[in-house]
Symmetry: C2
Protein backbone atom coordinates (compact mmCIF):
# COMPACT_ATOMS: atom_id res chain seq x y z
CA UNK A 1 0.00 0.00 0.00
CA UNK A 2 1.34 3.38 -0.93
CA UNK A 3 1.55 5.94 1.86
CA UNK A 4 0.24 9.36 1.00
CA UNK A 5 -0.09 12.69 2.80
CA UNK A 6 -3.82 13.40 2.71
CA UNK A 7 -4.10 16.99 3.87
CA UNK A 8 -1.04 18.94 2.84
CA UNK A 9 -0.28 22.54 3.69
CA UNK A 10 0.90 23.13 0.12
CA UNK A 11 -2.61 22.39 -1.15
CA UNK A 12 -3.77 25.48 0.75
CA UNK A 13 -1.29 28.04 -0.55
CA UNK A 14 -2.91 30.64 -2.76
CA UNK A 15 -2.08 30.19 -6.45
CA UNK A 16 0.38 33.10 -6.49
CA UNK A 17 2.50 31.23 -3.93
CA UNK A 18 2.14 27.75 -5.42
CA UNK A 19 4.86 27.87 -8.07
CA UNK A 20 7.81 26.59 -6.05
CA UNK A 21 9.88 24.06 -7.99
CA UNK A 22 10.03 21.97 -4.83
CA UNK A 23 6.50 22.10 -3.50
CA UNK A 24 4.29 24.22 -5.74
CA UNK A 25 1.28 22.43 -7.15
CA UNK A 26 1.15 24.88 -10.08
CA UNK A 27 4.73 24.13 -11.25
CA UNK A 28 4.30 21.35 -13.77
CA UNK A 29 8.04 20.58 -13.84
CA UNK A 30 8.48 20.53 -10.05
CA UNK A 31 8.75 17.87 -7.37
CA UNK A 32 5.33 18.53 -5.80
CA UNK A 33 6.51 17.81 -2.27
CA UNK A 34 3.50 17.74 0.08
CA UNK A 35 3.66 18.06 3.85
CA UNK A 36 1.04 17.19 6.46
CA UNK A 37 0.67 16.36 10.12
CA UNK A 38 1.13 12.93 11.67
CA UNK A 39 0.28 13.64 15.29
CA UNK A 40 2.88 16.14 16.50
CA UNK A 41 5.31 15.27 13.71
CA UNK A 42 5.23 16.55 10.16
CA UNK A 43 5.52 14.15 7.24
CA UNK A 44 6.34 14.42 3.53
CA UNK A 45 6.56 11.49 1.16
CA UNK A 46 8.34 11.57 -2.17
CA UNK A 47 9.21 9.15 -4.93
CA UNK A 48 12.33 10.43 -6.71
CA UNK A 49 12.33 10.04 -10.46
CA UNK A 50 14.77 7.75 -12.21
CA UNK A 51 16.91 10.69 -13.36
CA UNK A 52 17.31 11.96 -9.75
CA UNK A 53 20.41 9.89 -9.25
CA UNK A 54 23.90 10.52 -7.86
CA UNK A 55 25.07 7.29 -9.42
CA UNK A 56 22.76 4.70 -10.95
CA UNK A 57 20.94 3.13 -7.99
CA UNK A 58 21.37 6.03 -5.55
CA UNK A 59 19.35 9.20 -5.07
CA UNK A 60 21.03 12.55 -5.76
CA UNK A 61 21.79 14.50 -2.58
CA UNK A 62 20.57 17.77 -4.10
CA UNK A 63 17.09 16.31 -4.43
CA UNK A 64 17.24 15.11 -0.82
CA UNK A 65 18.33 18.63 0.14
CA UNK A 66 15.40 20.06 -1.80
CA UNK A 67 13.08 17.62 -0.03
CA UNK A 68 14.43 18.68 3.38
CA UNK A 69 14.12 22.35 2.35
CA UNK A 70 10.45 22.28 1.35
CA UNK A 71 9.59 19.86 4.14
CA UNK A 72 11.07 22.46 6.47
CA UNK A 73 9.14 25.45 5.18
CA UNK A 74 5.97 23.35 4.92
CA UNK A 75 6.42 22.08 8.48
CA UNK A 76 6.90 25.61 9.82
CA UNK A 77 3.76 26.70 7.96
CA UNK A 78 1.81 23.77 9.42
CA UNK A 79 3.04 24.66 12.91
CA UNK A 80 2.18 28.35 12.75
CA UNK A 81 -1.13 27.60 11.05
CA UNK A 82 -2.04 25.26 13.93
CA UNK A 83 -0.85 27.82 16.44
CA UNK A 84 -3.25 30.25 14.76
CA UNK A 85 -6.06 27.73 15.20
CA UNK A 86 -6.15 26.15 11.76
CA UNK A 87 -5.48 22.84 10.06
CA UNK A 88 -5.00 22.07 6.36
CA UNK A 89 -8.45 21.56 4.89
CA UNK A 90 -10.06 24.30 6.97
CA UNK A 91 -9.95 26.62 3.99
CA UNK A 92 -7.94 29.27 5.86
CA UNK A 93 -4.94 30.70 4.06
CA UNK A 94 -1.76 29.47 5.74
CA UNK A 95 1.37 31.53 6.39
CA UNK A 96 4.19 31.17 3.85
CA UNK A 97 7.78 30.66 4.88
CA UNK A 98 11.15 31.01 3.23
CA UNK A 99 14.36 29.19 4.06
CA UNK A 100 17.03 31.15 5.90
CA UNK A 101 19.36 28.16 6.10
CA UNK A 102 19.45 24.53 5.08
CA UNK A 103 21.66 21.84 6.53
CA UNK A 104 21.77 18.18 5.54
CA UNK A 105 23.94 15.39 6.92
CA UNK A 106 23.99 12.46 4.52
CA UNK A 107 24.11 9.38 6.73
CA UNK A 108 23.91 6.58 4.17
CA UNK A 109 23.64 6.24 0.41
CA UNK A 110 19.92 6.58 -0.41
CA UNK A 111 18.66 3.76 -2.62
CA UNK A 112 16.54 4.53 -5.65
CA UNK A 113 13.18 2.83 -6.16
CA UNK A 114 11.95 3.35 -2.60
CA UNK A 115 9.62 6.10 -1.39
CA UNK A 116 11.40 8.66 0.80
CA UNK A 117 9.71 9.79 3.98
CA UNK A 118 10.69 13.00 5.75
CA UNK A 119 9.64 13.23 9.39
CA UNK A 120 9.92 16.63 11.00
CA UNK A 121 9.88 18.22 14.43
CA UNK A 122 9.24 21.95 14.65
CA UNK A 123 10.81 24.22 17.28
CA UNK A 124 9.76 27.83 17.64
CA UNK A 125 12.70 30.24 17.86
CA UNK A 126 10.44 33.26 17.84
CA UNK A 127 6.99 33.86 16.34
CA UNK A 128 8.38 34.48 12.86
CA UNK A 129 11.29 32.02 12.96
CA UNK A 130 11.27 28.24 13.34
CA UNK A 131 13.82 25.45 13.37
CA UNK A 132 12.70 22.22 11.74
CA UNK A 133 14.62 19.02 12.40
CA UNK A 134 14.02 16.38 9.75
CA UNK A 135 14.91 12.74 9.32
CA UNK A 136 14.71 11.25 5.84
CA UNK A 137 14.03 7.53 5.61
CA UNK A 138 14.10 5.12 2.68
CA UNK A 139 12.06 2.26 4.09
CA UNK A 140 13.49 1.66 7.57
CA UNK A 141 16.87 3.19 6.74
CA UNK A 142 17.69 6.65 8.06
CA UNK A 143 19.51 8.12 5.07
CA UNK A 144 19.77 11.81 5.97
CA UNK A 145 19.22 14.24 8.81
CA UNK A 146 18.35 17.81 8.04
CA UNK A 147 17.74 21.15 9.69
CA UNK A 148 15.98 24.14 8.21
CA UNK A 149 15.66 27.60 9.69
CA UNK A 150 12.40 28.90 8.25
CA UNK A 151 11.20 32.47 8.55
CA UNK A 152 7.88 34.04 7.69
CA UNK A 153 8.18 35.31 4.13
CA UNK A 154 9.51 38.88 4.20
CA UNK A 155 8.07 41.66 2.05
CA UNK A 156 11.29 41.74 -0.02
CA UNK A 157 10.12 38.56 -1.73
CA UNK A 158 7.02 40.17 -3.10
CA UNK A 159 8.09 43.80 -3.54
CA UNK A 160 11.49 43.38 -5.27
Amino acid sequence: MEEKVLKAIQDEYPEDFAWCYGCGRMNEHGHHFRTGWDGEKTVSIYNPKKEHMALPGFVYGGVIGSFVDCHGTGSAALYLHRKNGFEPGDGAEPPRFVTASLHVDFMKPTPQGTALKAIGTVHEIHPKKYRVETEVYAGQTLCAKGEVIAVVMPDTFTSN
Copy 2:
Protein backbone atom coordinates in the same frame (compact mmCIF):
# COMPACT_ATOMS: atom_id res chain seq x y z
CA MET B 1 29.63 38.01 -23.19
CA GLU B 2 28.62 34.83 -21.48
CA GLU B 3 31.07 33.44 -18.93
CA LYS B 4 31.80 29.75 -19.23
CA VAL B 5 33.95 27.23 -17.40
CA LEU B 6 36.29 25.92 -20.08
CA LYS B 7 37.98 22.93 -18.43
CA ALA B 8 35.62 21.30 -15.98
CA ILE B 9 36.43 18.39 -13.73
CA GLN B 10 33.05 16.83 -14.55
CA ASP B 11 34.10 16.49 -18.18
CA GLU B 12 36.81 14.09 -17.01
CA TYR B 13 34.72 11.69 -14.93
CA PRO B 14 34.46 8.26 -16.49
CA GLU B 15 31.03 7.55 -18.00
CA ASP B 16 29.98 5.26 -15.14
CA PHE B 17 30.33 8.23 -12.77
CA ALA B 18 28.82 10.87 -15.02
CA TRP B 19 25.11 10.31 -14.31
CA CYS B 20 24.64 12.69 -11.39
CA TYR B 21 21.45 14.73 -11.72
CA GLY B 22 23.42 17.77 -10.61
CA CYS B 23 26.66 17.50 -12.55
CA GLY B 24 26.63 14.40 -14.74
CA ARG B 25 27.11 15.08 -18.42
CA MET B 26 25.34 11.78 -19.27
CA ASN B 27 22.13 12.69 -17.43
CA GLU B 28 19.97 14.34 -20.05
CA HIS B 29 17.50 15.66 -17.48
CA GLY B 30 20.10 17.07 -15.10
CA HIS B 31 21.56 20.49 -14.34
CA HIS B 32 24.98 19.82 -15.91
CA PHE B 33 26.86 21.89 -13.32
CA ARG B 34 30.51 22.24 -14.39
CA THR B 35 33.37 23.25 -12.11
CA GLY B 36 36.82 24.50 -13.00
CA TRP B 37 39.74 26.45 -11.59
CA ASP B 38 40.06 30.22 -11.57
CA GLY B 39 43.50 30.66 -10.00
CA GLU B 40 43.24 29.20 -6.51
CA LYS B 41 39.45 29.46 -6.45
CA THR B 42 36.97 27.04 -8.01
CA VAL B 43 34.15 28.33 -10.16
CA SER B 44 30.85 26.97 -11.45
CA ILE B 45 28.38 28.92 -13.56
CA TYR B 46 24.73 28.02 -13.98
CA ASN B 47 21.67 29.46 -15.62
CA PRO B 48 18.61 28.19 -13.74
CA LYS B 49 15.65 27.28 -15.91
CA LYS B 50 12.42 29.20 -15.75
CA GLU B 51 10.72 26.46 -13.73
CA HIS B 52 13.46 26.58 -11.03
CA MET B 53 11.60 29.19 -9.08
CA ALA B 54 10.61 29.68 -5.45
CA LEU B 55 8.14 32.36 -6.49
CA PRO B 56 7.95 33.83 -9.95
CA GLY B 57 11.09 35.96 -10.29
CA PHE B 58 13.19 34.19 -7.66
CA VAL B 59 15.34 31.08 -7.87
CA TYR B 60 14.35 28.03 -5.84
CA GLY B 61 16.64 27.42 -2.85
CA GLY B 62 16.77 23.69 -3.50
CA VAL B 63 18.41 24.34 -6.86
CA ILE B 64 20.90 26.69 -5.19
CA GLY B 65 21.57 23.94 -2.64
CA SER B 66 22.13 21.47 -5.47
CA PHE B 67 24.50 23.94 -7.11
CA VAL B 68 26.47 24.32 -3.88
CA ASP B 69 26.49 20.54 -3.43
CA CYS B 70 27.98 19.64 -6.81
CA HIS B 71 30.24 22.69 -6.79
CA GLY B 72 31.54 21.32 -3.48
CA THR B 73 32.27 17.79 -4.67
CA GLY B 74 33.65 19.11 -7.96
CA SER B 75 35.91 21.55 -6.11
CA ALA B 76 37.23 18.83 -3.83
CA ALA B 77 37.91 16.66 -6.89
CA LEU B 78 39.76 19.54 -8.59
CA TYR B 79 41.83 20.11 -5.45
CA LEU B 80 42.86 16.50 -4.95
CA HIS B 81 43.47 16.05 -8.67
CA ARG B 82 45.85 19.05 -8.61
CA LYS B 83 47.50 17.72 -5.46
CA ASN B 84 48.07 14.50 -7.39
CA GLY B 85 49.70 16.51 -10.16
CA PHE B 86 46.85 16.80 -12.63
CA GLU B 87 44.57 19.41 -14.17
CA PRO B 88 41.31 18.94 -16.07
CA GLY B 89 42.20 18.33 -19.69
CA ASP B 90 45.27 16.23 -18.87
CA GLY B 91 43.29 13.10 -19.61
CA ALA B 92 43.95 11.62 -16.15
CA GLU B 93 40.94 10.18 -14.34
CA PRO B 94 40.07 12.42 -11.39
CA PRO B 95 39.00 11.25 -7.95
CA ARG B 96 35.25 11.21 -7.27
CA PHE B 97 33.73 12.63 -4.11
CA VAL B 98 30.45 12.31 -2.29
CA THR B 99 28.81 14.82 0.00
CA ALA B 100 28.92 14.09 3.72
CA SER B 101 27.11 17.31 4.61
CA LEU B 102 25.66 20.34 2.89
CA HIS B 103 24.97 23.70 4.48
CA VAL B 104 23.53 26.77 2.78
CA ASP B 105 22.77 30.19 4.25
CA PHE B 106 20.42 32.10 2.00
CA MET B 107 21.50 35.72 2.25
CA LYS B 108 19.19 37.40 -0.25
CA PRO B 109 16.41 36.38 -2.61
CA THR B 110 18.12 35.17 -5.80
CA PRO B 111 16.73 36.82 -8.92
CA GLN B 112 15.83 34.72 -11.95
CA GLY B 113 17.20 35.58 -15.37
CA THR B 114 20.80 36.07 -14.22
CA ALA B 115 23.63 33.54 -14.42
CA LEU B 116 24.65 32.22 -11.01
CA LYS B 117 28.32 31.96 -10.19
CA ALA B 118 29.64 29.76 -7.39
CA ILE B 119 33.12 30.60 -6.15
CA GLY B 120 34.75 28.06 -3.89
CA THR B 121 37.69 27.72 -1.53
CA VAL B 122 38.87 24.24 -0.63
CA HIS B 123 40.32 23.30 2.75
CA GLU B 124 41.86 19.89 3.36
CA ILE B 125 40.63 18.24 6.56
CA HIS B 126 42.52 15.05 5.84
CA PRO B 127 43.60 13.41 2.57
CA LYS B 128 40.16 11.89 1.97
CA LYS B 129 38.02 14.70 3.43
CA TYR B 130 37.70 18.33 2.33
CA ARG B 131 35.67 21.35 3.36
CA VAL B 132 34.56 23.61 0.52
CA GLU B 133 33.33 27.10 1.28
CA THR B 134 31.23 28.56 -1.50
CA GLU B 135 29.73 31.92 -2.30
CA VAL B 136 26.92 32.10 -4.84
CA TYR B 137 26.55 35.35 -6.76
CA ALA B 138 23.84 36.57 -9.11
CA GLY B 139 25.69 39.37 -10.88
CA GLN B 140 27.38 41.36 -8.10
CA THR B 141 24.94 40.21 -5.43
CA LEU B 142 26.03 37.61 -2.91
CA CYS B 143 22.85 35.53 -2.62
CA ALA B 144 24.01 32.48 -0.68
CA LYS B 145 26.93 31.09 1.26
CA GLY B 146 27.49 27.37 1.39
CA GLU B 147 29.70 24.74 2.93
CA VAL B 148 30.14 21.17 1.79
CA ILE B 149 32.08 18.43 3.52
CA ALA B 150 33.19 16.18 0.68
CA VAL B 151 34.77 12.77 1.12
CA VAL B 152 36.41 10.47 -1.38
CA MET B 153 33.72 8.15 -2.65
CA PRO B 154 33.56 5.11 -0.35
CA ASP B 155 33.26 1.57 -1.67
CA THR B 156 29.70 1.33 -0.31
CA PHE B 157 28.56 3.50 -3.21
CA THR B 158 29.69 1.02 -5.80
CA SER B 159 29.29 -2.30 -3.99
CA ASN B 160 25.80 -1.92 -2.42
